[in-house]
Symmetry: C2
Subunit: 328 residues, 2 copies
Amino acid sequence: MGGDHAPKETVRGSVGAALGLKDITKIILVGDSEILNRELNRCKFKPSKIEICHASEAVAMGESPAQAIRRKKDSSISKAMDLVKSGEADAMVSAGNTGAVLVAAMLKLRPLEGVERPAIAMVMPTQQRPVVLIDVGANTDCSVKLLEQFAIMGSVYSKAILKQSKPVVGLLSIGGEEGKGNEITKEACAALGKIAGLNFKGNVEGHDLFRGETDVVVCDGFVGNVVLKTSESVVHAVQYWMSKEFHKNPMRLLGATLLKGALKAMKRRMDPELYGGAPLLGVNGTCIIAHGASSGRAILNAIRVACESAQNRVDQLIMKEIAKTRAI
Amino acid sequence: MGGDHAPKETVRGSVGAALGLKDITKIILVGDSEILNRELNRCKFKPSKIEICHASEAVAMGESPAQAIRRKKDSSISKAMDLVKSGEADAMVSAGNTGAVLVAAMLKLRPLEGVERPAIAMVMPTQQRPVVLIDVGANTDCSVKLLEQFAIMGSVYSKAILKQSKPVVGLLSIGGEEGKGNEITKEACAALGKIAGLNFKGNVEGHDLFRGETDVVVCDGFVGNVVLKTSESVVHAVQYWMSKEFHKNPMRLLGATLLKGALKAMKRRMDPELYGGAPLLGVNGTCIIAHGASSGRAILNAIRVACESAQNRVDQLIMKEIAKTRAI
């Protein structure tokens, strides 16, 4: 029920996933059954893999997460999370209120043993291979301990899902040298260097982010969220300037027409939807947070990533890695 | 002597400024006189407005700022700062070691009365009018008090130099509502709202940064530096993808040729060099920090902004505004 284009795009993406992803046994749409049925009937195909689980309430986008989860026991987010908790579902995907998903996951799925706080990871396109930015908004004020755990969780995710055998991990700071940064990153830089088995390369800067030479970039959720949204903002500004300049005269319009394919390909390259939503790492179970503005294609990719995460038991892998560092 | 293309581009930019900016009486090039004279002799015109002040030492880009300023008494940065301190110069511009400029300014010019810590402001292009981001790297860990002063200093700069009569000020956070953010921004949001005469609109997000609806965006120097470098990184990635896609076949190459003017215009729009370096606000005197990779054009613009700042006595305006808020 959540997201700017729900339930239309959510349903479309789910139908696409049910038809296209052979590893999936069942997709349960959780929400108002009447609305969902109507939406499903609009689709050309109604795959038998799709079921509906009725939820009489929905958390609105602007609602206070904690209150919404406490009061709306029958909200689609709560009910979907219950399905994961009970084992009826292996993973949940939501394009709804991020805070509410986070609260529901904390309360119902609970953090993994040894994990202090779950974090939201975001896979972003770069000039080379994609980068995992963690945390992008779950924890605004972070201790060194939290940043250490983010590094481990991000590294596990990169290995399991992005198939990087030895992910290069960097700490987001404002200078390459160890002495650069604010108080917390200076301390964290030293601590991360001591984690056995972590391929930590030290500080990375904003400059390095989209160069694609780092697989996992660690930061607190405040900085990560600002970075994520700033990057989107720059891309929008560039597209705005482009369209303004390209429409100035007929010659330019012709040029733009010849470049139509190239511009489309570029848009695809820059599109974070490709990597299918942001995994909430550090809870029992699989939970993928899709962008509020998700298209059907984004939802499909989020479902694909949810499926891969569940199959690879990313949560169990994280728990094992965290246990290793705690044992030392 | 500082910067990636020094002294060639620095000298070229200075010659351009001496010829083009009529308000300037004299430009003093501070550095190795032999090298500077050689470089000057390579220019077509050698304006009589240009003088050389010999400095036997130079601070390298990677050097520790505090040590360099303490040990190299005859460095070009120190000597240039001395010229401002003694009143022989009205302003200084440097593309050298930013930390060293900061340390020298703190020691020699001293913070303005009432100003706790100077901050580096950066003027950035957006979809609409330019935005002043403050601080972009002088202070990594900031109290609410510091953020309040950054807001006032940024607002004064926007008024005096960018001619915004009532600059809209925003606090960089991760949600529009007052309750969103980390501990320090939550507190700062409430405090900024109470500053009389400040046109504070509340929290702004990364999304809003390049939309151009805010004139001044306040953040700590860690976040500001990450934002600045991330934005540059995104622009580079977009240019990289563009050039890759545009060169894929002859048809696309033809399209790109027709769009040559548009692409150039876009590059100009996105170019922060247009706004001429980052002013160090909150010290006695005028000090402009140019990008390390500054071209002659960037240096010229930095000199222009230095001239305007000195003429408008931005430092005195800041002192007055800070005094007002302290009196309440």
